[in-house]
């Protein structure tokens, strides 16, 4: 355990992957708590006491108003008991302190819809979204990802490619304008792209499972500390998670774990 790197995984209201995300954080060396949103709203547990916030996959409020929409609305408007601010205020303070946030799948959707990603000029304005897969269906499928080594993303340092599962119905990444896309590209905020067997980004189904523009699977903010990814790194922590572990020689540790290790190491070096 690296001394005092503290990670929080938010749970509740339809979050589903909190246990395996917490496991990943612990394997990476962080002291980790799973905290229910309702507990955060009581004010008994404070985000300020943590360094690494994880927004895990799931279906916040059933994604009934569009993925993570109702969840974003709760964080924005629900008041913390006994105080004058919302959890979104806490989140913005967390970001301003240079702390780390990783959102996976529903967590990525939440970050984008709250304007925390890409948040070019820390304006918290929503400029991108994740919407229904082109095929109109939820899909569980493992994907090749090409990682942008020029990205400032602290999580993917040293990683060039990944193989992870997507499990979503609303994973198609789109931007509000060509300018937004251009800026994401120019600033190297596109962290990961769906790739074909040769490792090249692709628009073709099923290698690109949802029709994302520019094959975008994950992006970060300009600081590289806020990171959203549709595929699930916490679903590949050990070789037996790999769909072909019975037929391939694989390293014991799964590819997803390095993202968490990088986060914890970054905090240990920069924030403690």
């Amino acid at each position: 355990m690296i001394a005092n790197v503290r990670a929080m995984v938010i749970s509740g209201f339809g979050t589903n992957c909190e246990r395996e995300v917490a496991h990943a954080c612990r394997l990476a060396g962080a002291e980790t708590d799973i905290v229910h949103i309702s507990t955060l709203l009581t004010g008994r547990v404070r985000l300020d006491d943590y360094h690494f916030l994880n927004l895990a996959g799931g279906f916040l409020d059933g994604d009934d108003l569009g993925s993570a929409k109702a969840g974003a609305n709760r964080l924005t408007h629900a008041r913390v008991a006994g105080r004058q601010h919302s959890l979104a205020d806490d989140l913005r303070r967390f970001v301003a302190a240079g702390k780390l946030i990783m959102g996976v799948c529903n967590g990525f959707q939440l970050l984008v819809k709250m304007g925390l990603l890409p948040s070019f000029d820390s304006d918290f304005r929503q400029s991108c979204t994740l919407t229904f897969n082109d095929r109109g269906r939820f899909e569980d499928r493992w994907c090749n990802l090409q990682v942008n080594t020029a990205s400032p993303c602290v999580y993917t340092a040293g990683i060039t490619e990944m193989y992870l599962p997507v499990r979503h119905g609303e994973g198609k990444f789109v931007t509000d304008s060509p300018q937004t896309l251009a800026r994401l590209e120019k600033d190297h905020l596109v962290v990961a792209r769906y790739a074909d067997a040769s490792g090249q980004p692709t628009a073709d189904y099923p290698a690109n499972p949802n029709g994302s523009v520019a094959a975008i699977a994950g992006i970060c903010d300009p600081s590289g500390r806020i990171f959203g990814l549709m595929p699930h790194p916490e679903a590949y922590l050990h070789r037996t998670h790999h769909p072909r572990w019975t037929r391939e020689n694989l390293p014991e540790e799964g590819m997803g774990l390095q993202l968490y290790r990088n986060a914890v190491n970054f905090i240990a070096a920069d924030l403690l």
Partner: protein, 992 residues
């Protein structure tokens, strides 16, 4: 006022839902439209200012990047026909509920009791000007009239106004009205009361109730609590629910008089006790100290040991009748319902995975359907979507399942939903799988609210599907309300805030409270305290409503405040409805007035035992004369493309099978992640390599020959799938789900004696084979009225038993998948191949049934399975695949194309009777056989371990991607590229 907020995609944004509808309209109905766009409508019936409405519309209701909104005006006029589909009053509207919560967060003001949000969907068609055709598209595809309603507007017409009369608000006044029912009437009138009230009570049962109410002691006791001699509607409804086939399993509890084909007679006092409980008792006795069962048959699910610290919980349910009427809602409630069984077992358990098995008619059915039946393709689509939403949104991976097809499932689809869960062996020092209500504990209902939904679900599913089948039996589940409740309950469990827990399923509070109260011998329930979804429910409706997402707890008085405040903090409703007593009475009150007072003994033990005559006359079946095929490759491809054999990948991918990060052997295996796994392996504890293996067997096609062997084969198939993947045959439990057609002889069912005999025979096999294999049964369920009858058209399903197995693998790293691994590996066939093609896919393809149904030799099979386990533990097996539908030919093809390598096979090396023809060798469905590949360096060790058993080296794995089969004289009878076989196997359901 009512705000109508319409949300649609900006132009240029792909409308995936609209495109899906366009495709379905073309493919299902053969109607070619130019385009379909969709829009979401929120009718907000609440006090909002114009500014607030704007904030809501542009905030939680829409996504500024891709969507536009309109408030109180149409969003788009760009259509030829506009269809708007909304819910009928009272139908669960999950999006409406979430929208309401979002508005409350935004304004900071809670909604009033009369306020609400009602959602609907608009479809904007282009390329259609015929209103009648639009109506057809809606009724045949987009909407289900039982739960939805719609308007159709053509271009130029104005959209219908939205007002208080058009929103689907339930209007009604709650009254405490209780009706007294006079049972001192003729038999005809008694039956009329039962029929009119959807009570499903027989004449004998009506007599029993009438006689009870004329007993002088009963009359005196009723007088004492303020009731007259007549039965109240609350009481009659409670009795009907408790005594329903669905809740009481009267057929399985009946006294059966069975006569076999030799004229020998046998009297069986309860099939359940004799064969199911009996088998488990015998198995546990034989297991002795190795008995791993913890709780069987007495709770919502069975419980077995997992290791010293954890126990495994497993249950499989069916939800057939509701799925016939509304496939989406039926299947969704099926899955979230069985989830509550896991949560409601012992003191509560954490869900780890789901399983799903469906039986449908062909989605390509192209003849006329009898009235009230939905097209099998709609059933398929709706059920899959329901299970998808139920499982995925609940965060429970769906890891095992299958789909069986038979024309007769058009009459009633079968929807089996299973759930496994894990609980600590000990909770606060006591076994977690046990619970006990104490006298004085409060009755606390938690989760959702009560509405009219699901009223008469229990009695409805105890009857065949008929003209008057009730609409209220249809419901839509709400996975998020349930997920919130489960988060709360696990915390409450760990804090020791309750003594007992159970779910509210069939029969609602009547059932849950009634059953829990057996611990104390009575209860006092205040129906008026129950939270309602809307006004207008009568006391009996509150008691028996099957509204979803509710659990009942027994909470000690000193923990009540803590429990209620924890619930409030977690945004979960929990309400104190009364207390458990030792009064001996099932006592319900409404505003302080007694409306039901039945003795616990009468309601639970009073139902008369049914007499069920059964007579076995073997059907006249014979083996067909089939000419040996000239083109074996073509036959094999045809078999691979049969619905029972072909790939179900399009369905599997719609289920999240990996959430919780425990799925080690996934439903799809092999070099392209698309081969059909035999079983799933799941690791429930992230810091341990101990795993759970789950599999199933189901073979309805053998029932038409003999249900005894159908049952034996289902058991063997479940176990052989389990063992193939690495499951420990010495630590495995079974779970039976019987789905039968009505076996009770009557005018409607003149062949009842035969159907009852089929039931007896299946039970006899269940006993024989569970005992022989040493597999205890831990739980199960039966669904006995899977018939359709309207007018003189009757469709009965083939008798079907799903045999699910769950057990252990000590180290998941020794699990084995079905795909061949390397060229040069040796191919072995374990087990002997007999001339057993009765009920096979090969015969069915040729239009025959046949007579030689496969038979199981349990002793030989058990020894084989134990030996396979030993070989797996030391890593001798590279791949292992079970032989089932389509026999050896299909298994060879699947293992080869899943692994991406070819095989050279010689049929002459197969252990089989002399001279058995090649088509029989390839397509016989003899049981207990496994196809195994072994690396050459393990040849000696593998053959040594199997010495003295049926183990034949029949070929090898080759680099060249072709399956080559010779018939001994070096005559090549099959030479086919893997890609061609795989395409034949994947094509049929690829686009579903």
């Amino acid at each position: 006022m009512i705000w109508k907020i319409v949300v649609g995609l900006k132009s240029g944004v792909t409308d995936a839902r609209g495109n899906r509808a366009l495709k379905d309209i073309r493919e299902h109905l053969g109607i070619a439209l130019r385009s379909v766009r969709t829009q979401d409508v929120y009718a907000v019936d609440a006090q909002l200012s114009a500014k607030e409405a704007e904030l809501v519309a542009h905030g939680p209701f829409s996504d500024p990047v891709i969507q536009d909104v309109a408030i109180n005006q149409p969003l788009s006029q760009d259509f030829d026909m506009l269809v708007e589909v909304g819910f009928r009053p009272g139908v669960t509207d999950n999006t409406g509920r979430t929208a309401k919560e979002a508005i409350q967060y935004l304004t900071g003001r809670p909604f009033g009791a009369e306020e609400g949000v009602y959602t609907s969907t608009q479809y904007l068609f282009k390329g259609l000007d015929d209103k009648a055709l639009a109506e057809k598209i809606v009724t045949d595809l987009l909407a289900n009239g039982l739960i939805q309603r719609w308007t159709i507007t053509s271009a130029g017409e104005t959209e219908p106004e939205i007002d208080a009369n058009t929103i689907p608000r339930v209007i009604g006044q709650t009254t405490g009205d209780v009706r007294m029912i006079d049972l001192q009437v003729s038999d005809a009138e008694l039956l009329q009361i039962s029929r009119d009230g959807m009570l499903a009570l027989t004449l004998e049962e009506m007599h029993t109730i009438r006689d009870h109410f004329t007993d002088s002691a009963v009359i005196a006791q009723r007088k004492a609590c303020g009731l007259g001699p007549m039965v109240t509607d609350v009481e009659l409804e409670a009795l009907a629910q408790t005594w329903s086939e669905h809740c009481k399993h009267k057929i399985f509890a009946a006294k059966v008089l069975y006569e076999d084909d030799k004229g020998e007679q046998l009297q069986i006092d309860s099939l359940f006790k004799t064969y199911i409980v009996g088998a488990t008792r015998e198995v546990r006795k034989n297991l002795g100290e190795k008995d791993f069962c913890l709780s069987v048959f007495k709770d919502n699910a069975g419980v077995i040991e997992f290791n010293n610290e954890w126990s495994l919980v497993f249950k499989v349910e069916t939800h057939n009748s509701p799925s016939a009427l509304d496939p989406y809602g039926g299947a969704l409630t099926g899955i979230v319902g069985v989830n509550r069984d896991g949560m409601g077992t012992g003191m509560g358990a954490r869900l780890i995975f789901n399983t799903d098995v469906f039986c449908f008619a062909s989605p390509f059915y192209d003849r006329e359907l009898p009235p009230r039946l939905l097209h099998p393709r709609r059933i398929f689509e709706g059920v899959v979507e329901g299970v998808e939403h139920g499982g995925n949104k609940s965060g429970v991976p769906t890891i095992n399942g299958s789909i069986q097809f038979d024309e007769r499932f058009a009459g009633k689809p079968l929807v089996y939903c299973g759930t496994a869960a894990i609980m600590p062996r000990l909770l606060h020092g006591k076994p977690c799988h046990e619970k006990k209500v104490h006298v004085g504990d409060h009755i606390v209902m938690t989760g959702g609210r009560i509405g009219k939904d699901g009223i008469h679900g229990a009695t409805f599913s105890s009857e065949e599907l008929h003209e008057g089948s009730p609409v209220t039996a249809v419901q839509i589940g709400d996975p998020i309300t349930q997920r919130k409740m489960f988060d709360f309950l696990l915390l409450a469990r760990d804090r020791g805030l309750y003594h007992s827990i159970t779910d509210n399923g069939a029969g609602g509070l009547s059932s849950s409270v009634g059953e829990m109260a057996e611990d104390t011998g009575g209860f006092e329930l205040h129906l008026d305290r129950a939270p309602l979804k809307y006004q207008g429910l009568r006391p009996w409706e509150i008691l028996i409503s099957e509204a979803q997402e509710r659990m009942t707890l027994a909470v000690p008085p000193d923990k009540l405040d803590e429990l209620i405040s924890l619930a409030r903090e977690m945004d979960v409703e929990a309400t104190d409805l009364g207390v458990f007593t030792a009064s001996g009475y099932f006592h319900c009150l409404y505003q302080g007035r007694t409306v039901c007072c039945l003795s616990m003994e009468f309601i639970h033990e009073g139902v008369p035992q049914m007499q069920l005559p059964a007579r076995w006359i073997p059907p006249s079946v014979r083996e067909p004369a089939i000419v040996e095929p000239t083109d074996y490759a073509q036959v094999l491809e045809q078999l691979l493309g049969r619905l029972n054999v072909c790939s179900k990948e399009s369905v599997v991918r719609r289920y999240d099978h990996e959430v919780q990060a425990g799925t080690v052997v996934k439903p799809l295996s092999g070099v392209c992640n698309d081969g059909p796994s035999d079983a799933a392996v799941f690791r429930p504890l992230l810091d341990s390599f101990e795993g759970v293996v789950v599999a199933h067997g189901i073979c309805p096609s053998y029932s038409d020959i003999d249900t005894y062997h159908m049952m034996a084969c289902a058991i063997d198939e479940g176990l052989r799938n389990y063992v193939a993947t690495g499951g420990n045959i010495d630590h495995v439990a079974g779970l039976d789900n019987f789905c039968w057609c009505d076996p009770v002889f009557s005018e409607k069912t003149p062949d009842g004696h035969y159907k009852a005999a089929q039931l007896v025979r299946a039970n006899q096999a269940l006993y024989d084979y569970c005992v022989a294999f040493g597999v205890p049964l831990i739980s199960g369920k039966d669904s006995m009225k899977n018939d359709y009858q309207i007018g003189d058209r009757k469709i009965s399903i083939p008798p079907t038993v799903l045999f699910s197995v769950i057990g252990k693998i000590d180290d998941v790293r020794t699990a084995v998948t079905m795909d061949v691994k390397k060229p040069g590996d040796l191919v072995y066939l374990l087990g002997r191949t007999e001339d057993e093609l009765g009920g096979s896919e090969y015969y069915a393809e040729a239009g025959h049934l046949g007579a030689n149904v496969p038979k199981v030799d349990a002793a030989t099979a058990l020894r084989r399975y134990q030996t396979v386990n030993r070989a797996q533990e030391v890593g001798l097996i590279a791949s292992c695949h079970d032989l089932s539908d389509g026999g050896l030919g299909v298994a060879l093809a699947e293992s080869a194309f899943a692994g991406g390598f070819g095989m050279n096979i010689d049929l002459a090396l197969i252990d089989a009777p002399m001279g058995l023809r090649s088509d029989r060798l390839l397509f016989s469905e003899s049981q207990s056989r496994l196809l195994v590949t072994v690396h050459p360096q393990h040849q000696a060790a593998f053959e040594e371990i199997f010495s003295g058993q049926n183990c034949s080296l029949i070929g090898e794995v080759v680099e060249n991607p072709e399956l080559i089969v010779c018939d001994g004289d070096d005559r090549m009878i099959i030479r086919v590229p893997l890609a061609r076989m795989k395409d034949a196997w994947q094509a049929p359901l690829r686009e579903m």
